[in-house]
Symmetry: C2
Subunit: 365 residues, 2 copies
């Protein structure tokens, strides 16, 4: 019986509340007599800043590096708006991504049938939607140097960020996208702005080469990122897998998430490269939504994205495919029964709390 080490990093806002619901699922799995999950817990974001003056402590970073998977809640909130840039809540998240080398961020945008009416899009446009955005997560303008504000004198300052991509970074994310496409619809659309960015020219070139070198069974298309944003709104079902850089991936995956009307429902996985010796890959799982400080503590938070993120951990880190399917099915069943947290409720629905939603999913298991 394998034992898996999980590090839970609930973070800020609704993070801790939704993490409680994941713990229920973990406890249940531990009673099934198949695999054992050992959990440890740490602080990240504003919570870590309040405790240590840093967005994540060295000790918690070491735990994250050592864990089989990190389960991450959410960070940030107006409370920390004025803290220095280097220790702002997001710095903890970015350090985890960078130090763990989690270069591949998988963001499925699916439309839960029970929720098709919650979308601002016409039902026919989003019903049955199932696309996967593969976002590069450790490069680009998020991390490139120089990244600074210079004082130019006479009242002028200059803000600088640098978008940088090397061949190997593009190649590995392209491979990840092609391999994922093989398990799905077999199509990849690569998005960049090669008409204005040199990194976009290189991106396009390397994705094309990688495709030729062993992935020609997958269909590859290229689209400018701005046109991609448009096409996501116009007819999102035209896509299967979208591969794009860190910043475009941030924008496009948020747009895609909102299309589904299921923002509080969408999980993500951030994966590193397999260790050459053990085959194990570092991984972190987090909901696509943020820390929603406005509703923290009110019991209104939707724990589904967090629980679905844990299901992705079962699938991608522990190859517990049956268990992942089970959890995802339990979520869908709960929704089919008409149970709704406030964010996904329509007039006339019975609205339940975070804990009630967690319990309902558990009951389905």
């Amino acid at each position: 019986m394998a034992t898996h080490k999980l590090l839970l990093l609930p973070g800020d806002g609704i993070g801790p509340e939704i993490m409680v619901e994941v713990k229920k699922i973990i406890a249940w799995l531990n009673t099934q007599g198949k695999e054992t999950f050992e959990t440890d817990e740490g602080l990240v974001g504003g919570a870590a800043y309040d405790a240590h003056g840093q967005a994540i402590s060295e000790e918690d970073m070491a735990k994250a590096m050592d864990a089989d998977a990190v389960i991450f809640g959410a960070v940030g909130g107006p409370k920390w708006d004025a803290v220095p840039y280097e220790v702002r809540p997001e710095a903890g998240l970015l350090r985890l991504r960078k130090d763990m080398e989690l270069f591949a961020n998988l963001r499925p945008a699916i439309c839960y049938p029970a929720l098709a009416d919650a979308s601002s899009l016409r039902k026919d446009v989003i019903e049955g939607l199932d696309i996967l955005i593969v976002r590069e997560l450790t490069g680009g303008v998020y991390f490139g140097e120089p990244k600074e504000i210079k004082d130019l004198g006479n009242g002028q300052k200059r803000g600088i960020d640098t978008q940088v991509y090397d061949t190997y970074e593009i190649e590995r994310i392209a491979k990840a996208a092609f391999e994922l496409a093989r398990t799905r619809g077999g199509r990849v659309t690569s998005m960049e702005k090669r008409n204005v960015m040199k990194s976009g020219v290189l991106w396009n070139e390397v994705v094309t080469q990688t495709h030729k070198a062993g992935y020609e069974d997958v269909q590859l298309d290229h689209m400018l990122a701005d046109a991609g944003g448009m096409q996501l709104v116009r007819w999102p079902k035209q896509f299967d897998v979208i591969v794009t850089d860190n910043l475009f991936g941030d924008m496009l995956s948020d747009v895609a998430a909102m299309l589904t009307g299921s923002l509080g429902m969408l999980p993500s996985a951030s994966l590193g490269a397999p260790d050459p010796k053990t085959g194990r890959r570092k991984a972190m799982y987090e909901p696509v939504h943020g820390s929603a400080p406005d509703i923290a503590g009110t019991g209104a938070a939707n724990p589904i994205a967090m629980i679905a993120s844990f299901a992705m951990a079962l699938r991608y880190s522990f190859e517990l495919v049956a268990e992942a399917d089970l959890v995802e099915k339990a979520i869908a069943n709960t929704l089919d029964k008409g149970l709704r947290t406030r964010d996904i409720s329509a007039e006339g629905d019975t609205v339940i709390s975070t804990a009630e939603m967690g319990d309902a999913i558990l009951a389905e298991l």
Copy 2:
């Protein structure tokens, strides 16, 4: 009777066809005995590359600098996919923007009532939509240096682009946004990613300061650009004026345009600073849509965005507000009559050609 010098740059793809329809409007205005428009014509984009090996010739650049307004069609197409980066069709557009210092790009996203059904969004979400995106157009990652691909040896290359903003660049676009908001709903939402970008930190700071220094009658909100993309999809009517940088503006204005279901209908204006002596500001007007090479020459192109862009020229460059209103009203009336080009037609509509649409609008005048 004033005489105004227009430089027409039809460009590639459907550009020349839709420009023909604008010329009809110009000819009509010249018969009204109020103001006279003198037109000259030049080449830009692939058309200029084919003629001169450059995306715009020095001669045409000089004409653009000298014109009272440039009316721009569209550039680009697969024909020029392999031309060197420096002379690709888009380089002509970017040079016009940069050399004319057209820092303020106004992109209205309005939903024409007659077309609310053409949107992929629910009718209640977009009916009556009227927002204005004010995009910074001469700075940021489009123009920052270094911008290059380096060969690192051993098969690795590095693509680099640089996002740079100086205080004065942010200040002038913020002022433009506040002043435009005063003529509309009185609200500005500024979007950046200050949680990951230093240029975003500076952007936020300068917009806030500019607001305090004389624009406090306008309501100012800040939103992260990824959240902004989401909110545009969720409930676009929450916005009045959005001000953002060059790259975010590119993405967000395209998403906003597609929301309306009226992409082939949306105009834009790119404005420089008023000349300290003459008060005249350099300006270029262009449709938001691209060159659509796939339908070029088929008579299927919708000339409305191009004609509406010319209406913006009447409004912003020549203060011919009544004439601008007249042209916009003629467009709306034509639509109300049920006349549709293919892109905006639904089943059962009578589909008319580019020229027929131009003539119908002219007939309304």
